[in-house]
Assembly symmetry: C2
Homo-oligomer: 399 residues x 2
Amino acid sequence: MGDFNQSVILEAIRRSVEGLSRIELVEATGLSAQTVTNITRRLLDDGVIAEAGRTINGPGKPRVTLRLVAESRVAVGVHLDPAVITVVLLDIAGTVLRRRAVRPDDRDPRAVIGMMAGAIDELIAEAGIDRARVAGIGVAAPGPLDAERGTVIDPPKLDGWNRVPLRAVLAEATGLPVAVEKDTTAAAVGETWTGSGAVDDSFLFVYLGTGIGTSLVREGDAVRGSSHNFGEVGHIMVDPDGPPCACGSRGCVEVVCTPQAIVERAERRGILDGDRRASDMHAVEERFTQLSERAEAGEAPAVEVIEQAAHALAVLISVLTDVLDVDRVVLGGPFWDRVSGIYLREIPGELRRRSATREVHEIPVSGTVIGDDVGAVGAACVVLDLALTPRASDLYLER
Amino acid sequence: MGDFNQSVILEAIRRSVEGLSRIELVEATGLSAQTVTNITRRLLDDGVIAEAGRTINGPGKPRVTLRLVAESRVAVGVHLDPAVITVVLLDIAGTVLRRRAVRPDDRDPRAVIGMMAGAIDELIAEAGIDRARVAGIGVAAPGPLDAERGTVIDPPKLDGWNRVPLRAVLAEATGLPVAVEKDTTAAAVGETWTGSGAVDDSFLFVYLGTGIGTSLVREGDAVRGSSHNFGEVGHIMVDPDGPPCACGSRGCVEVVCTPQAIVERAERRGILDGDRRASDMHAVEERFTQLSERAEAGEAPAVEVIEQAAHALAVLISVLTDVLDVDRVVLGGPFWDRVSGIYLREIPGELRRRSATREVHEIPVSGTVIGDDVGAVGAACVVLDLALTPRASDLYLER
């Protein structure tokens, strides 16, 4: 139980703003004074925590406050999105030390991974951090994944990525341990780690990226599923009158709720001109930004398109909350910020109307606390999780 | 940890066919010899286990085999289905001692609960069992439920059941502790308890009752959700060309996959005559039986209707396996047996074609090991779980 107790202590110290004394740790964790003393001694020796000061509180020995040494370990987080690759450097307090976004022109997976490795090396060098203090690299990638091999299988939006051994290639290129996680799961881990809600609550994370994905945190832990592919929702029908989908059905999330689908709807209605190469992700992103800005400014046809997208997403969310029975819903991902105003106005009421458990409990809806970088930050948190807690499997770390 | 260790030991003994010796228990559980000795002594004193024989295996003391005293505790399981109420009496080995099915004519909830209590009392008396040995009554009821209060809220198919305090009324009527669980969750617990798969595997249970529901077992434990209402799937769209649904959408599970929806489709096509009171559940059941018998006999139009229902259910199952990422799928419930032939022929291929993780792993589909009584048997297993293991909350037991 040693590792588990250590993680409990680190978690308590990490979550306290001012640090905690050993006696406070005993109270907070329920561990024995002896266990707390032994573990904190080890952590002090390793430089992961430090003595932050003494408080005198009545008679007896003064209490020594222990705090996390935030910079004692760092983790790299990478978000591999079809449109943009985001790299962040996080310390163990969860603070983003550095950040960089790169837009690869070359679509070849090896070239993209090379670019990723270059950006990581530069970021570590610029921050002046000893590589020995880098716990590892977490990569948030679109599913499905072969988690055991660290392989990206064939994500619908990543052209040319077919069974790419991302983990092995990036580990080879950087000489650092690499963990590959689904983008949506990474985002949920990030949301938990940076700690918006209660430690043990359950929430659905709805991820708005180039594709739409979801993840689940149950009693504080991300649920990964049998093959680490939890949360594929692209072919859930949300609009029986929607456009046809490659799966043979109609009105799936994939062809209704994604940025590309929303842009296409606006193009069909003449709100955006139709002069765009269908597969150009950068053009989709630009147009999505333009459309959401016009909607934010109150331009009625643009508002209507975004509202319809919000209602379709509410159908998806109600399907998932009916199945999963969670306490709350969090929305985030790289495209979230641009539509958050209208989505947060439209979705909660629609969800309440549809919920099978509306007579039992409310399901609050909110935006992520992390922002657009939730995928990259979350990927770094996956590494911190692996490094600091015994909770997750170390199955997919490789040096 | 005492209770937990006790449950581990009981589980090991329960799952062994021939019983286990103390030394075998030490090997199987990883507990210390002293702990095994202490706990088995207590269980012997309580009459829950007994010495079953001695084996001499080389030099040294002969080994005493310990086995469960199956009849030392019994549990009552009740399945409240809109069409039929099934009551079973289970011993702790999971064997059904007695079974009774009653079809209430009176729809009034109090009258139905009174009938339930009468059937329970008769079953216990007929079996000649001392009421002190009855661990409790488990009731499997359609959701949504208010689990904290043991209240049935307003299930779509149970007319007149609106915030009925089922647990309190039945506990009052019988003088026994009562646990109320969602029918689908109870079925999954029953499937786990009677042990078809590995102890720690993850499966989706698809429940074919008057309504369609689902439940999830993850690493051997039923997932109940934040408010014990996991698995509501009635308004997941499975056929964009399906009939309109009360929810405002089209082609939901509720209007496509339920026995009533299937019977209505056959009526619309003239395969069954349309002369039926819409709300008559018994008539729906009779007609569903007739239709499935004609399909089993190879009558083409009937086969086609059942095949279409199977394909629609495969859409639902693929939605859920894409989201939940499980090892396998189990189908069961009171209407399962009648369509199992065609469903098991049609669903696996369709699921493979649709699965987002088809490149990562296969998802086997099979029928329940328990049979039509899976709801009632599962409800009794919920009580055995509560009585024998500390895993589940005792939140919803009330005497």
